[in-house]
Structure formats: structure tokens, C-alpha cells
Symmetry: D2
Subunit: 346 residues, 4 copies
């Protein structure tokens, strides 16, 4: 029954005990087209996912990851491993012919040298560099549509780059970015499920602080994609994330010094050109707030020209786990399989 | 007994039912030197302050404001009225010879035209423009020390300007600010006690959004004071506040495009010159967080030079109600009376 | 095409600018069977609902309530007015033959005297007392199934009673409740959208307190329904709600002094008898948490016999706006129309 | 200079990297009479306390615990070790003649069998059982005043027992407690600094759940002390704590079934008898909230007789780290040294 199988591709989720993997499992489990297959986790193997995450209500049992067995029984794999740990499994599944969507940073950067500068010498499959489609549908829809016949590898964007690139791509394309500051605010779920000092409730509550000031790994990713879109490759975005006492949510406040004077009308037109017709991007005239998009695949943007300084300000908000990671992954798979882009996401 | 009175000056707090006024009342009530006199509030007259704010534990009864009676019985008045509503009471008390510290914006701007541009034509005492000392002790200590013999008027800075000016004054003095973005995050108490949509718990929780993007009144105040410090007066800071789900706390993330290349050592030296010996300013090498200064008069700063862009990043955190408003007011009064600057504040 | 119209009944939502009404509008707007008609609000008439609640993404425009026009164009009306204000509109729509589901307390109590004791003399349609089906599907499913042919009136339960009755009905039926304490914790959305002191972020954050200690209106409702289920009508439950810094969520901790010794096995059996096969009630062996059910129609329960005191402890959590109000209303309508009970709710 | 030393006793804090120990260190560091000596922590030895806790602003360096060296140089030791780990160090310091205040549970229970039932066979100094003064000043002030000449050992109460006993002691003394339910709500800091699943921000936010339902170790402690006060020793309090999304704060809601009918006046009198003149206990007519006492040594109570059920309801709130642990410890030391009870605590 190869046909029926093709009609409902089985999707494995590796690393399904993490926040991102678990959410992918839930979205696939409820998806009208895809079918959830194996969900894996090393430490929690044997547990049911709804014991770890009651609110996801996925009754499947987590199993030890077994790449060969997964490759035999699935057409698609979503890999939710930490950075560096992902490349080996991704390469193995990819070699067996699966469509692989990697949620880690391992295949986002197209350039080996840049990867090594930021992540070190930990990659298991450098030969795949540059073969992945960067899984931001509003920017790379065409490539995603062809990915099953093409490289069969999708690199899910980082959550900050998702918001920053959606905010800045219209200006990058128009060639007006001379300098850009990205001041990002993120909820705690972005730090993952691991128990670290900075996710203890007592450290988070009544607190906001910057982190990664000396250099955050999402900077080269933002730079790469904006350069692809048209920004002068020499521009070095300043990117500083801040942790805020929120569970799920992300807001990037972008401050662009333009190459030339730009007016409010021109900016409005650039955003209309970019996003009219996009069902998951909302351009508004009010300041977007994290609540507006929580637990959805929407990005919500506002662009504004500051008359005093001439700077262009763009505010973009997403749910870091949804549009920033897991629901965007499902959006990518929908496109790859020619389904309605919002299937399983409304 | 003029002498004894001088030894323990009586301080009246007008508008003591608001967050800022109530905190001033508490700090004065516990102060070893000053003595709390009348506390006033129109709507809540007759109530005890500890009914409104049990945690402040000030058992005094709020009374209707009566400027004449207050002037007769006090040497100092702190006025916690809303912007525009303050100038009339301030002028009357000032005319009666009291030292007046105004927490509103009414006397912060030195220039009538700038005031009108941002606040409209609502000022009751424009003749006092330019006579007030701007109550930021680390910048205007000398003027504060002479204020009783001088203009007898202190304009308490806005909470955002307090953090932004402390963060940027060292760079302004060195003349290196070419452009500056101030991305501020503030807790909800900064919006005051009034019941408005944006302070409803359900709107704040799990939410972060910018506001006042079209122009916030703290922008001209920041610009004025940085220009006084040495910044080119033509520079128009970009200032955007964001509301975060925090009660008390404020973080300003400042991004300075320098006029000339500056190195980390030079920046470190500028901040050391400015703040070594300041007991309420902490310059750290870790990212400062709101919790570090909550319910204190401290400001905590970190300056960093971004090697990629050459920008200078400065992060400054304060408690918006304490150092941003009420405890800073007490610090000013301590200086005006020649007391130890931290009296009643540790 | 009367037939087709019957197949997709139009549902009006009166009072759609409140939290509960707005959520009903969203659920109906996405519902596969029902069709959203008029949504009304006095103060916000003319605004789009997605301006007030961007995250609901309902693009309909709010209109002034016009009972006659609504009656002409709808088969069902959900009324989200405050207590006391509801009865007049409900009676008018009911008289016009609509199926009316009232979210207020106006038709929950079956007894005029009890209503007057707790709410005063404000009811516009006392003749309808006792005709409404109490809209708790797990208890009154049969009556709900017949409501269109019967009284055409459903009284949506209070959020606290929903959780408390689900927690206690199995014990009430078995006649073992001698005394019962219901200590409830609720998120702030339960207080509604109105701006009051107790919903200001600064009053809620880092705070928990009891309220309504002298007598909360949900007490007689809980008592009435438990008596219907079999509890001795003389028992006076002690009911005390507490406000916690949570947006949506409710937990009732119930402490039952039993009439006779009951064992863990017996209690487990009572709950299995009551809820096996219920798709929206989860009986677990772990302590249920608000997060487990947030933004769902689920109730999650744990019953435990304390071996030291012999008391039976039952913990029940729901989302106060979903199962506690709005999604439960849709569940009732699904039953009334013979649809799958979870249609539009998964 | 033995005299001078006695005038300013040096206090060592063992386990000063935990929340409770760190706060004791801060309070002693600012105390007008005591002097902070060694502060110890195994894992963080060598770090400054203000690196771990910037907001405490204690610049001392943490050292490895060395009982002999500590005994030589200090007159008082406060031990902030986990349960079971404390008894060995406490016994050694006590044997060397120091006044020891233990913050753990190791010396709270007076009875070996009860201790073993709840904590197991882990105690290093069972011979000291029953020699410690239970460090709740409002109940055991006399014994605390004599502790330096007596047993030289103070067992700091648990945070829940502090609130519950203050709430219930007046009723226990009057012999009216027939049954009692204690439903407690606690902030996350009560769980300590350790990184565990239940303190991850994402698990705490928008969540409330009971825990320890099968039996919490504070139950026998509450029972022991209420029996000492006069409650029938056969009564088994039902005690259930709930975790709420709060940093510091605790509220115990107590529901007492009385042995005989009691009226509101009698209850008011019992509480007045117990607490009139207590400077740290506030009996109010409004529902006490956690914010009212946060970061203070106050307990705030309200007692109410429910006319329907005849039950007596008592609500008591404290800051779990302050009055529940660390500031109460300082209050005990003040009493032991004959100082004003609020020295260093206002």
C-alpha cells in the first residue's frame, strides 16, 4: 500500500522530550495529513509523552532513538537535538532517503568557516553544508516546495532569526539597511527544558537582563539571511537578546539606520509587497504584543519611521516555540508535500 | 525653636496615594533626619495610607491638599501629581519659601517651547522654567547641595531618563555619541496606580510590547540632559519603551554609534572616571538584571564595545519607583541638607 | 433553504466584548457546524473584535444589541452579560423561540428565595426560575439533549461550581459528604475585563489572598447541585476563593469529612463510575495543575484518602474561561444539537 | 577584649549559598549588634556572596566549612543545611559551646520515633532530641530568652508551620479545635535554590498545583506544636501545600471545625489575647495578602467565623524566607541576646 503510505507520510520526531520536539509531536499527532510515528528520547525512553507534557495530550510512548529502525518505517524525520549533537543523526537519516527537518543550528549556516567560528569543530557532516533549505517559508517557499526532489534537508531557523528576518527582509531587499540594531526579548521556553540557573523561577521572576552580549550565535544567521535578501554583506547587525518573565513569546525591536532617507509611505509599501497575501504574517498599525500570537504560527509586525532620527523601526513578535520553531517546521512540511500551508495549524 | 525644626525638617508629600508619593512618604517616615508631616490625596482623603499600601506600614491619615496650611507647617514639600497638574501647587509652595521637589515632568525641561511641543499649553508657572535643579545627584550634585540657598526647586527626573542618562553621560562627556538608540524595558508600576487597560493583569501577563513609538515624552528630557553633558545637541536619540510583566524594575539597553572608534579600555576608563566613588552606581562586568536593584536606590551598569559593529552597548538597570523616582528624591533631599547621601536609603 | 439553515444554526453572542463572550465568539467562529452571527457590545459597538482581542482573530464587527433583530436572524443566542443584567435579554430572546444559553448567574439557582438572598431583587424574569437546564454536561447530559424541545434555556454554571461539582458529585451521589471545605484558587481572568483595583498587575503580582470570605455567591450554587446529586441538603459547604497571579486557570481543593469511613478503593471506584468514558474529564494519580488544562475544555481530577484524618481530598483543575465558561457552553450546544460533544473543541 | 566580643557576637552562617542562609548573612551583615563572621558553602567556596546574590550586597567570600575553625572564632552559628545533613555540624558546634540556630528540620520534632517515621534513620545526634527551643518567638519567647544559659540550641521552624501555628495557636489554647484543614500556598523560593523540574519557570508560570498530598513533613511539626499549645493530641491536621507562581510569599488558609459553637466575638478576643502587643503579628479585618508582608518579618492574620457552617476560618500570610525562616532566626537571636526584638529587622 505504498500509495496510502505516501498519502499519509509517517513522521518521526527525534528528541521529543524537549519543548520543541514535543510540540512538533503534538502538531503532527493532530495533523489531518501527516501521521505521527516514532517519538524518541534517551533519558525518558519508556515514558509516555503525556506524562511529561500533560497539556499536549499525546499518548505515545517515547523510545530510544534507533536510526535504522526509524529510517525503515518513516518518510520524514524531525530532529530536535541540541546544536552539535544533531548533525550525525541528521546525516544518517538523510542518507537513508528521508526528508529531514533539523531544528538545531547544525545546518543553518551555509559556510563551514562561519560555522566553526561560532560553534567550534563539532560537526559530523560538513559535506552537507549549503545543501539545506533554510526553513523560513515566507522567504524560501519555492525551495521548500521542491525540497523532496532536491536536497531533502530543511534547516529550521532559530527563533530570533525568524522574527528578525521577517522584520528586516523588506528593508534588506530594498537595499536601505546601513546599520541595524536588533534588541530581542524572549520568553524562558526559548532556553529549553534543561535545568539551568537562568530558568529557575526565582531568577526569572521580576527580572529582565540581556545575555550573550559578547556575541550570540543567532547573529551570523541573521546576517547571512539578510545578505541573501539583499543587505550589504559587510553590515554587521548588532543583536542582543534579553530574557523576560514570559513562558512563550518573542519580540524583536529592530532599529535600522537607512542608507538613504526613507519615508513612511515607502516603508509601508515595502512591507505590503512582502507580506500581502501571506496568511501567517500580520502587518499592523498598533504595536504588536507577544500575547497576540501566543500558541499560533503567526508573526505580527509593525514598521515605523522615526521622524526625528530618520531611523526605521520594526517590531516583530512571534511565539518562539510555534512560529519560531515547531509550527513553522510543520508549515515547511505542508509546503514540501503540497498541502495547504495552514493545515494542522489553525 | 527654629533650630530644632531645622534639625528635623518636616516634609509634606502631596499626592501620596500614588505609587511614587506613597513610597516617598514611607522613606521619609523611616528617615533618621527628616520627619513626615502632611500626606495628601484628594480621592482618598480620610483613609490611612496603610489601608491603601499595607506593605509600606505608614499609619498616617491622608488629608485634602491645603497649600496654605502645608506651607505654614513644613519646610519641604514633595509633589507627586500628574504632569500638568503639578505646576500650580509647586509654584504656590515655592512662593511660600518651601524647598519643593516635584516628581512630575513640569519643571524638567528647561525650555518653554520644547515643553509646549510635548505637553501642550498646560503649565501654570512658566516663569519658573529653567530655575529647577534636575534631581539626578550623580550629575548635578553641586547644584543640589546649593538648592536651599538657590532656586529652592528640584525637578525629579523621569525614570527612563535616570537610567538612560546614567548609562550615557560618560560617553556624552567624551563627545563620542554620533547616534544612540535607547531600548527601554519597564515594569508596570511605572504606569502608575490608575486603572487603565494596559495595567490589567490579563493584558500584561505573558506579554511584552513597545509603546509610545510615535514619540515618548522622555525623549526630549534624555536629549536635553545628554546635550548638557556634552553630546552634540543635534543628535536625536531614538527612545522606545517596552512594557514587561514585572512590577518594579527598569532596564535601558543603549546602542551608541560612536563618532570615532572607541576601544573597550577607553570605555572602561570613562565609566570609572564617572562612577568610581559613587555609592549608588555599580559598574559590573556581568549583564545587570532588574532583580539586582529592586527596592533599592542603586543603578547597575555594564558597558561593552561590540567588536563587529564598533558600537558601544550600555545596559543600565534601576528600580523605576526607587532610584527612578522616590528614593532618588530622598537622595536629593539628603544632599540639599548636607546629610550622608545614603541616609534612610540602606 | 430552511433545512440548510437548520443544519448550520446561526449563533448570536450578546456581550461579546467580555472575556467569556469573546471566547464563545471565537469558538463558534471556528466551529464546523455552528455559524457565528451577530456579536454585540454596547460600549465597543463599531469596533472589530480582533481589535479588542487580536489573539482570537475574529474579524467580525461588534454591534449594538437589538433583541428583535437578533431574534429574527438567529436560532441560538449566548448571553454574556453581568449578573442581574442578563435576565431581561434572556427572557426576550427566549420568548421569541430561540435556544438561549446564559453565561450569567441569573438562571442557575432554581429557587427564588435563594436567588434573592444572594443577588437581591433584580431579576427581570422570575417566572423562568427552575426552567433552565444547568449546563454541566457530565451531570445533566440527558436534559441538555432534550433542551431544544424542552425549556430552550441553559444556565451556564459558574466556573468555581464547575470544578467543585465535578470534584464532589461522585461523593455526593454515594451519600458520604458530611462536611466539605472547598478552597479554590483562580486566575485573574475570572474577574472579567472590567478595570478594578484587584486586577491591576501591581496588585496581583507576587500576591495571593482570599476574597469573598464573608460569603461568595457560588456557595449556594455548589450546594444546590450537590444536593441534587445526593448530598444531604442540610450540609453547608465552606467555599473560599483565592486570587492567584495566573491569567487563566482554576484549581479547587476539596476536603470532605465523610459520614462513614471510606477507603481509597471505594473512592477510586466512585470516580471511575462517574467519569470512565467522559472525554473531557481526566482522573489522574498525579496532582493536577492548571497548566495541564489551560485553553482546553478538560477537567482534571485527583481523589485521595488521607489515612491520618480519614478525610477525602479531591483536587480539580479547569480553565475558568474554557471549561469553566465558554467552551463548556459550546459543549452544551453540541449536545443540544446532537453533534459530537467535542466538535469545535479539540 | 572578651567584653567587646560579647557586645558584638560574631555569627557564622553555614550553608550560606542557599536562599535561607544567604538572607541570614545579609541580615546579620547589616545588623547593628551582631557581626557577620564566616560564611560557608561547599560548591561555591571562593566566590563572593554578592556574585551569587547581587541584591543582597554582601561582599564576603564563601569558604569551605571547617567546624573547628568556626568554633574558635564565633559565638553563634546559623546552619542552613538540608534536612538530615544538618545534625552532624550542629552537634559539633554545639559541643564546642556555640549557640546554634539550625534552619533545617533536624531538631524540630521532639520525638525520635516521629522523626524516624517522617525522615528515616539519618540523624547524627539523636541525643539532642527534645533539647532545642522551637524558634517561634511569639510562642516560645521565654525559652528563647534563656537559651544561651540553657540548651544553646534553637530549631528554626518550617515556613508552613510558622504561618499555621500563628494562625491556630489561639484556637488550640482555647481547646476548640476538633478538626483542622490547612490549605497552604507557597512561593517558589520555598523549594530552595536547587535546580529541579518544579522550579523551572515554564513549569511554574500559569500553574498552581498541590504537592505532597500523600503526606508532607510539616504535618507532624504543626501537630506537635498545636498539641503543645493545647490542641487534643489525637487531632490529625490535614495539611496540603500548593505551589503558586510567586517568588517569596506564603498563605495558609485554615479551616477549623470547632468542638463547640464559637462566636465571632470570642474568636476576636482569643486573637487579641494572643497578639496584642506583638510587634510582628498583625491581626486585620481584611483578607491578608502575600504582598502585605513580602520582605518583612511580619505575619498578618484574619480570623472569621462562617455563620453557615460554624467553622472558624483563619488566613495567615508571611514571607516564607523572612518570617518563615531567616528574619525569624534573627528575631530569635535578638531575644537570646536581650536586644530589641526588631533590631536589624525594620
Amino acid at each position: 500500500m505504498a500509495d496510502a503510505a505516501q498519502q499519509t507520510p509517517r513522521v518521526a520526531v527525534l528528541g521529543a522530550s524537549g519543548f520543541a520536539g514535543a510540540l512538533v509531536a503534538r502538531l503532527i499527532d493532530r495533523h489531518p495529513f501527516f501521521r505521527l510515528g516514532a517519538i524518541t528520547a534517551r533519558a525518558e525512553a519508556g515514558m509516555r509523552l503525556d506524562e511529561l507534557y500533560p497539556h499536549h495530550r499525546v499518548p505515545s510512548v517515547l523510545s530510544e532513538p534507533d536510526v535504522e529502525a526509524i529510517a525503515d518505517a518513516h518518510e520524514v524525520a524531525v530532529v530536535g537535538y541540541p546544536h552539535g549533537a544533531s548533525s550525525e543523526a541528521v546525516a544518517a537519516l538523510h542518507a537513508r532517503g528521508l526528508l529531514v527537518l533539523d531544528l538545531s543550528a547544525d545546518f543553518r549556516l551555509r559556510d563551514d568557516a562561519t560555522y566553526r567560528e561560532w560553534y567550534g569543530d563539532v560537526h559530523a557532516a560538513p559535506e552537507l553544508f549549503g545543501t539545506a533549505v533554510y526553513g523560513l517559508p515566507e522567504i524560501h517557499r519555492g525551495a521548500l516546495a521542491g525540497v523532496r526532489e532536491g536536497g531533502r534537508l530543511i534547516a529550521g531557523p532559530g527563533c530570533f532569526p525568524t522574527a528578525a528576518i521577517l522584520a528586516l527582509a523588506p528593508l534588506a531587499r530594498a537595499g536601505v539597511i546601513d546599520e541595524v540594531i536588533v534588541d530581542a526579548k524572549t520568553g524562558v521556553s526559548g532556553a529549553g527544558r534543561k535545568l539551568v540557573r537562568s530558568t529557575h523561577y526565582v531568577d526569572v521572576s521580576e527580572n529582565v537582563h540581556a545575555y550573550g552580549v559578547a556575541g550570540h550565535r543567532h547573529q551570523p544567521e541573521i546576517r547571512q539571511e539578510l545578505a541573501v535578501a539583499g543587505m550589504d554583506a559587510a553590515v554587521q547587525p548588532v543583536f542582543v537578546p534579553h530574557l523576560v518573565p514570559v513562558d512563550q513569546g518573542e519580540l524583536t525591536s529592530c532599529y535600522v539606520r537607512p542608507r538613504r532617507a526613507v519615508g513612511a509611505d515607502e516603508v509601508a509599501e515595502l512591507f505590503a509587497d512582502a507580506y500581502d497575501g501571506e496568511q501567517f504574517v500580520e502587518v499592523t498599525s498598533a504595536e504588536p504584543g507577544m500575547r497576540d500570537v501566543q500558541a499560533t504560527n503567526f508573526a505580527r509586525l509593525r514598521a515605523h519611521v522615526d521622524p526625528r532620527s530618520g531611523h526605521v523601526l520594526v517590531f516583530a513578535t512571534i511565539d518562539n516555540l510555534w512560529k519560531g520553531t515547531s509550527s513553522q517546521a510543520v508549515q515547511c512540511l505542508n509546503i514540501a508535500y503540497g498541502r495547504d500551508e495552514d493545515e494542522g495549524l489553525r
